[in-house]
């Protein structure tokens, strides 16, 4: 079980500035075991930041994070990983010289048999053993690297897995396979929780609970039945682009005669 208590994350408005802005704003949340949660919300709402705070990649300004009752707020990334938290990045890293097989081995924490590797790849729609000897570098396409990222979390099999927009850049066929995979993990109900950050209705529909995150706050929570009908409304209800005046821009210095 994951518990967030009054989590706040602030960053300076600009580099070196005293003034700060809140990315995550006094957020409290509990994710029980066996729960399939989808976090959705507008771009820039703080979804990835929240995931990074849970994984330990960012440190909260204040608040607490508890995992299975233990306060892990000051634990390192690796410690959290070893306690059973996993995070599939929105933008996966690429590694020159590292083979896909090696990355899966590192993820699993042991040398995996080829067959197991192929199964993880198949679960993300990469149905060719030839991927195992490919390098996780620029030679892989965006969708390939994204699916390998997801496969690393499958191989790691953490108690709490957070996937950050797993659908991004993935073709329809792989997406089908992936939703099946998530459903299978969920239906096993063996104490694992899945958190998926997503904008995809198909994924949102799988959720036990949807969390709508906006401006670093939970704007709404509910089941798909409760929330889905309002999501479109909520999205449409967001006011259009309100341009704020950049502070460092002096409009008078820009010629307006042309």
């Amino acid at each position: 079980m994951l518990e967030l208590r009054n989590l706040t994350f602030e960053v300076p408005v600009s580099e070196g500035a005293q003034e700060t802005k809140r990315i995550i704003d006094d957020l409290s949340l509990t994710i029980p075991d066996d729960r399939f949660t989808v976090i959705t919300g507008p771009n820039g709402g703080g979804k990835s930041t929240l995931a990074k705070l849970i994984m330990g990649i960012e440190q909260p300004t204040s608040g607490q994070i508890l995992f299975n009752g233990e306060d892990i707020t000051s634990r390192s990334i690796a410690e959290r990983a070893n306690l059973g938290i996993g995070y599939g990045f929105q933008q996966p890293a690429r590694f020159k010289g590292m083979k896909v097989k090696k990355l899966l081995d590192i993820a699993a924490g042991k040398k995996l048999p080829m067959l197991a590797c192929n199964e993880y790849l198949a679960k993300v729609g990469l149905c060719s053993a030839s991927y195992l000897t490919r390098e996780v570098d620029k030679s892989l396409s965006g969708g390939e690297v994204k699916r390998i990222e997801i496969a690393t979390i499958l191989a790691r099999d953490p108690q709490l897995a957070i996937y950050d927009e797993p659908e991004a850049g993935i073709d329809l066929w792989s997406f089908d396979r992936l939703t099946e995979t998530f459903r299978d993990i969920h239906e096993a109900r063996d104490g694992r929780s899945i958190v998926i950050i997503s904008h995809q209705e198909r994924i949102i529909q799988l959720a036990d609970e949807i969390i709508l995150l906006r401006d670093g706050k939970i704007a709404a929570t509910g089941t798909p039945e409760e929330l889905l009908p309002t999501l479109g409304f909520v999205a449409k209800g967001v006011p259009g682009c309100q341009l704020t005046e950049p502070t460092e821009l002096h409009l008078t210095e820009i010629a307006t005669t042309c």
Binding site: A78, A93, T152
Partner: protein
């Protein structure tokens, strides 16, 4: 002529040539400027040069699937060993050549080995060349390796060269020159690791003389601590040819890396490309591996190992 090998010698040989005891087939093992043991095979004949120190290796046309080992070790301080090794590889061969030099130096005097290797690759032959350089020992004496590699490739010859400097080499100046005939293909991979106050300079000149010849130069290096590296690869296209030069360096600590990849085209049908990138280990790579349970140091180590695999 038999010189006994100590455990230190055997350790060096394992590092540079991955051999345990005497290899099978053709080989020549040199220690401190002297021959330890040599063996020729039916197709590969190794003989002592008459004009310079060193050996001539004649590989008969059509030789396939054979490997020849010519490792060198230096354990004597104050020694400067200069050796000329010339390979004559016949037509239609398919062979592997394993070279390398390991220096063990416990003293304050310098040890130096300069190997001048020349390869004549016959028509349609395929050659794989692996060379590893390694230094060890607690002495303050410098461990110097200045290799010169010359490759002359005839029509449709195919050559893959992997030259690696593992660690422990105080100073190195590497000169690599190649000339490619029509249809010849060369893949030149150089991997260097420098640390402490070490310096490494690598000069390469590849001349694409025949139509349809191609070269791929891949340089990967890691510069740690206060070490300094300079890369000067130059590819010259004089025919309808293709050339690609790629320099990639990871820089750490107070190290300094200069990469000056050059391309020179003297034919309008030459297609030459170069890329160079120097940077520290990307933060997102370290973070990713940490989310998989590795400590920061373990993550860094893993990334460097794979980069230089």
């Amino acid at each position: 002529m038999a010189v006994d090998l100590s455990p230190i010698d055997e350790g060096l040989l394992e590092q540079i040539a991955n051999i345990h005891g005497m290899p099978k087939g053709a080989f020549n093992i040199r220690k401190d400027g002297q021959l330890v043991q040599r063996s020729s095979s039916a197709n590969i004949e190794i003989s002592t040069k008459t004009d310079h120190p060193g050996i001539d290796i004649h590989i008969a046309p059509g030789t396939r699937g054979e490997t020849v080992f010519i490792p060198v070790i230096v354990t004597q301080a104050g020694l400067k060993d200069v050796v000329y090794n010339t390979f004559y590889i016949g037509e239609d061969c398919d062979v592997t050549i394993v070279a390398g030099c390991g220096i063990h130096n416990e003293s304050h005097q310098a040890s130096e080995h300069d190997g001048i290797h020349t390869f004549y690759c016959g028509k349609n032959s395929r050659v794989r060349y692996v060379e590893k350089h390694y230094g060890e020992g607690s002495g303050t004496g410098e461990r110097i390796l200045n290799p010169v590699t010359n490759v002359i490739m005839e029509e449709n010859a195919h050559c893959e060269m992997e030259m690696v400097q593992l660690r422990g080499v105080s100073s190195t100046v590497r000169d690599t020159n190649a000339e490619l005939g029509a249809g010849a293909k060369l893949i030149l991979t150089e991997k260097l690791l420098t640390h402490d106050k070490q310096t490494a300079t690598s000069n390469m000149k590849v001349e694409l003389k025949g139509d349809d010849s191609s070269v791929q130069v891949i340089s990967r290096s890691v510069a740690q601590d206060d070490s300094v590296q300079i890369f000067n690869p130059l590819v010259i296209g004089e025919a309808a040819c293709r050339g690609h030069v790629q320099c990639d360096a990871i820089i750490m600590g107070h190290a300094k890396v200069t990469a000056i990849p050059g391309i020179e085209a003297a034919s309008e049908d030459a297609q030459l490309v170069h890329e160079a990138a120097i940077g520290k280990i990307a933060g997102d790579q370290i973070v990713k591996l940490m989310t998989l349970g590795l400590s920061e140091e373990e993550a860094e180590q893993e990334i460097l190992e794979d980069f230089l695999n």
